[in-house]
């Protein structure tokens, strides 16, 4: 393995600037004449707006503009969109209310944008926003799933019962028949708790209108600048696409929350034109992030598993109610449907699966994709259900999984819920994880813990996920409004330096390193000669961005395809220079060689010839720059086994994670260090969901967990030192690198392992987050089992 090639643990080149404060984030950008926007947000969960008295603040010091929903309407700006059309069981399209940039007529959640104030200074904008008089008529609010159906309150008048869609997947008749004939049925109800993303960098946007060119630039915390440009141009009407440049500079975390097109970025661009072209900057305060970033998860489900007498899974039946908040965010509809129910086979050969999902509006912040997006909900449901079945049938949790795994020789494997898994070896990852976690030694550790007065438990989670959602034609047939390909351009300079322009983006995952490793390996170019450029619609080819663990599997493959074109062109040039037939030229280790001879030209020489084409093939274009687009034939399917071991303090219900083992099959791995880091981060978020995190609204729709005083983020002392193995496993067949996705795995697999471990320790399942009080109450109500 080369020092910087595929498989090398290359330190992240971007970290030098990130950890020395030299990163350049949206809020770091300050321009001459800059002004400041502050949004006036609804203090009510549901209210009619009787009036906004703009005159009350228009003359305050420094105020340049006060704009509300009426101004948005007057200027003909469009509404925010949901980019994936889901159809209900009866074939009807999902029912949606409008999602305006600034509220029109009604506010629908605490934090809903009502107006914007633009002023010379931030303090002046704050003062004016605070002084703005908005006359509200409060309305009854519906704040959770339990109350959504049939509620007196309608979030959108046009959506009866607040029901957005009632969707289904799978063969219901076959499932019902299997249940009717089953030896045993395991049934459970479970909650997937609502989460708030909490990216380290809050959302921010700067809109700049240039009257000279009649064009806009928007600097933005975006995971997908081209998608932002597309929606802001084609649907909102900020500007035509060619008159709008979207720049996502360094982005400090997103976890999905920066995929979406929010009102704020549209408003700052529009406001810049309204005030004559001065830059308008908005940076969310942390409190705003809690209120207005799209939240994640929030499901209530009933899950049933039918088994035969030997513990073989016969069928699975799931009903899920999903809370999508007050408006349909950009990809909200596909999360509890095509990214969720399609994963319900898990790693198992369950022959029949049926799932139906009712999605509801509530007077809460919009809910959309958050690290894992649908797949954590599916994995958690399957893995807790399987454990429950094992407990009821008296089968070891590892054994019931072994009995039901899709065998290694059954791939490619068509599940009953639409997906075709390309490769996998689930038993191998399970056995490796059990060995690493010393599963066999657990009873002795439990006995030792018991002598110390602790309840020790072990839990498994054999997750699967689907990453790099594709191909475009298939997602299109399911309702997606976009294609899900990716683009790349590989550009050499005279001196052999390489710019890699990718249509994906990075919000901290280390693409500047990983992608450079790909090029170094493929073209033999020194790692230090490669520059990765992303995040600017003016520089990079049109791309779809970073989410769903797609950047390497889809974006990386586009880079590889562009490199193939570089090599193909290089061969023509080398053949000319070496006076050989093109077919005889071989490319290896950065050199073009005439096969079977020692005659060769280095890539650098060939590139120089391409730019100084004095001795050059007559019919060939000069230059060395190639682009490629890649639309994958299928998702990638990372899978693995996580083993969590906990000790519970029976006197207080405190849960201590004492061991955590993660064995992931990510296919081939480009940079193991970066991948391990991704797993670590994902595990911490998954553990956060299981033990600590949970967004809570009170009965009137006020967010109770609106700061770090009450929203419990995981910290270093909440997690153990992880044992992480990213074995090569089974190579993905949907890209030439054999890679799968790794960014979401930890968050997908961890919650099930943690909850199963607690259940194993105390004898009954506790809903997430498993806070000390919940665990203590569970122990208290079940003393006999806990004391076993």
């Amino acid at each position: 393995m080369a020092e910087h090639g595929i498989g090398a643990r290359v330190p992240r080149v971007e970290d030098q600037r990130f950890i020395t404060g030299k990163g350049r984030y949206t809020d770091d950008i300050n321009q001459a004449g800059q002004t400041y926007a502050v949004f006036v947000r609804s203090p009510h969960a549901h209210a009619r707006i009787r009036g906004v008295d703009k005159s009350s603040v228009a003359s305050m010091p420094g105020v340049l503009a006060v704009l509300d929903g009426d101004d948005v309407k007057a200027d003909g700006l469009g509404n925010l969109i949901c980019g994936w059309l889901v159809k209900s069981k009866d074939g009807s399209p999902m029912k949606m209310g409008p999602h305006p940039l600034l509220a029109q007529g009604k506010v629908r959640y605490v934090g809903d944008r009502v107006a914007v104030v633009v002023a010379e200074t931030y303090a002046q904008a704050k003062d004016a926003a605070e002084a703005l008089v908005v006359d509200y008529e409060e309305l009854p609010a519906v704040v959770d799933l339990a109350g959504a159906h049939g509620a007196a309150a309608l979030v959108h008048d046009e959506v009866a019962d607040n029901l957005i869609f009632d969707w289904e997947l799978g063969d219901k008749a076959a499932v019902d028949a299997a249940f009717a004939a089953a030896h045993h049925v395991t049934r459970m109800e479970l909650v997937n708790n609502r989460l708030i993303p909490n990216a380290m960098e809050p959302r921010a946007a700067i809109g700049v209108y240039d009257s000279g060119t009649d064009a806009f630039t928007c600097y933005l915390t975006s995971q997908n600048p081209h998608v932002h440009r597309l929606v802001m141009a084609a649907f909102i009407g900020v500007a035509p696409e060619h008159k709008l440049r979207v720049v996502g500079p360094d982005v400090g975390g997103g976890f999905g929350s920066k995929i979406f097109i929010y009102g704020e970025e549209c408003v700052v661009c529009w406001a810049s034109r309204k005030i004559g072209g001065r830059p308008v900057k908005w940076t969310a305060e942390r409190s705003e992030s809690f209120l207005s970033d799209a939240h994640g998860r929030d499901h209530i489900s009933t899950a049933e598993l039918a088994l035969d007498k030997d513990g073989n899974f016969l069928a699975m039946r799931v009903n899920t109610k999903a809370n999508l908040g007050a408006y349909m965010s950009t990809f909200s509809s596909c999360v509890p449907t095509y990214l969720y129910a399609t994963l319900l086979a898990g790693q198992y050969r369950t022959p029949a699966i049926y799932c139906d999902v009712q999605a509801y509006y509530t007077n809460t912040a919009p809910v959309d994709a958050y690290r894992g997006a649908g797949r954590p909900e599916a994995s958690f449901l399957i893995e807790t259900l399987v454990d429950q079945a094992a407990m009821e049938l008296g089968i070891d949790p590892a054994d019931i999984r072994r009995r039901n795994f899709i065998p290694r020789d059954a791939f490619p494997y068509q599940t009953p819920v639409a997906l075709i898994y390309d490769t996998g070896d689930y038993q191998a990852t399970l056995e490796e994880a059990l060995k690493l976690a010393d599963y066999a030694g657990f009873p002795a550790r439990r006995a030792e813990a018991q002598r110390r007065g602790k309840l020790r438990g072990i839990g498994l989670s054999c997750y699967i996920e689907a990453c790099g959602i594709a191909p475009s034609a298939v997602v299109g047939s399911l309702g997606a409004g976009v294609g899900l390909w990716e683009s790349a351009k590989v550009r050499f300079s005279h001196t052999g330096k390489v710019q890699v322009l990718t249509g994906t983006h990075s919000h901290g995952q280390g693409h500047e390193t990983t992608f450079a490793q790909l090029i170094a390996d493929k073209l033999g170019v020194p790692f230090g000669d490669i520059e990765v450029i992303h995040g600017d619609t003016e520089k990079t080819p049109v791309g779809m961005g970073t989410y769903g663990s797609r950047s390497l599997a889809v974006g990386g493959e586009a880079i590889m395809k562009a490199c193939d074109k570089i090599i193909a062109k290089g061969k023509k040039i080398a053949a000319h220079l070496l006076e050989a037939a093109e077919g005889d030229i071989e490319f290896k280790d950065g050199k073009f060689t005439v096969a079977g001879t020692d005659k060769s030209k280095a890539l650098g020489e060939v590139v120089f010839a391409a730019y100084v084409p004095h001795n050059y093939p007559p019919d060939l274009e000069p230059g060395m720059e190639e682009g490629a687009f890649f639309d994958p034939p299928n998702f990638t399917f990372p899978a693995g086994t996580y083993v969590c071991e906990v000790e519970v303090e029976p006197a207080t219900g405190e849960v201590d994670i004492v061991r955590f083992t993660a064995v992931d099959d990510f296919g081939n791995v480009i940079n193991p260090m970066i991948v391990e880091g991704q797993v670590h981060g994902g595990l911490v978020q998954g553990i956060g969901q299981a033990l600590l995190e949970g967004a809570r609204y009170d009965d009137s729709g006020q967010l109770l967990t609106g700061s770090y005083m009450d929203y419990c983020m995981p910290r270093a002392d909440n997690v153990p030192s992880f044992a992480v193995v990213t074995s090569a496993g089974t190579a993905c067949t949907s890209n030439s690198m054999g890679v799968k996705g790794c960014g979401e795995a930890g968050a997908i697999g961890a919650p099930g392992a943690v909850i199963n471990a607690i259940t194993n320790a105390i004898g009954r399942r506790v809903e997430m987050p498993a806070t000390p009080e919940k665990v203590w109450r569970a122990i208290h109500s079940n003393v006999a089992v806990a004391a076993e």
């Binding site: 704050k126 207080t652 770090y708 005083m709 983020m713 806070t771 203590w776």
Partner: protein, 265 residues
């Protein structure tokens, strides 16, 4: 934050004068509560008087067998003080449990007790040890200093100078932190002192830190965790929130008291 006039007096006398002269002035000690409050526009003082430059308010001295800690002494200084660790190790240990390193490097004893957050740690130590608060005007026994949630016996123009902690025979603090804020959800300080047993509970009570007299009586003749086995804690008057119900807090009071007693030896 809103606009305000900022003062940084160099002496306690100047600070007292500034406080007297400006009706809507507020004192700022370490700022660990007050700066976030200002930033969120939850306070609108006319003047902020920063006590950070007043040398006479800082420092730790051994005095009359106990320790005296200046009001502007940082939590981290208390945690690391050789004097405190030797004379009242439980107090140093408590200081080490406050917030995180950044908070401990700025937050102060005087700021904490003057604010009297019901979930703060220090009020438990003052009550548990029978400390005395020395102010610019007088000396106030801890039992009379804390008068309710965010309320103290301090007058408007009165500034805490120092706190004197007598040395206990035995003492320990056991804290069950709020998982999110890491403030005390329930903290119990137990001390066996020349004046008797003291058990102080912080974090749990709606009115702030309080003494658990039933436990003090039970422990008076039998200083051991088992002595409080028969007690139950009444949840009425205890906080109930999304992190812990009053019932659970009541249960934790006893668990933490037993932990503290076990640690005190």
């Amino acid at each position: 934050m809103y606009d305000f006039a900022y003062h940084k007096p160099a002496s306690l006398a100047d600070a007292v004068k500034l406080l007297a002269d400006h009706e809507d002035a507020k004192l700022m000690a370490g700022g660990q509560t007050y700066i976030p409050t200002l930033k969120q526009r939850l306070a609108r003082p006319s003047d902020v008087i920063d006590l950070g430059a007043i040398a006479e308010l800082r420092g730790i001295t051994e005095e009359a067998g106990g320790v005296t800690i200046g009001a502007m002494t940082r939590h981290g200084e208390v945690a690391e003080s050789a004097v405190v660790r030797r004379v009242i190790p439980a107090l140093a240990a408590l200081a080490e449990l406050i917030g995180d390193p950044q908070v401990r490097n700025l937050g102060t004893l005087g700021g904490s007790i003057s604010n009297n957050d019901p979930a703060a740690d220090y009020p438990g130590a003052l009550l548990g040890l029978g400390a005395t608060v020395r102010t610019s005007k007088r000396q106030i026994p801890a039992d009379q200093f804390f008068t309710g949630m965010f309320e103290t016996a301090l007058e408007r123009d009165e500034i805490v100078k120092a706190v004197h902690f007598p040395r206990p025979e035995k003492a320990a603090y056991a804290k069950f932190p709020n998982p999110a804020s890491r403030y005390s959800m329930v903290g119990v300080f137990v001390a066996k002192t020349g004046g008797g047993v003291r058990v102080a509970v912080t974090g749990a009570g709606q009115s702030g830190a309080y003494r658990w007299t039933a436990a003090e009586q039970a422990l008076a003749g039998n200083w051991s965790p088992a002595a409080i086995d028969g007690l139950t804690v009444d949840p009425s008057g205890l906080n109930s929130d999304i992190h812990a119900s009053a019932d659970y807090r009541a249960h934790l009071v006893k668990v933490m008291a037993k932990r503290a007693l076990a640690a005190a030896g």
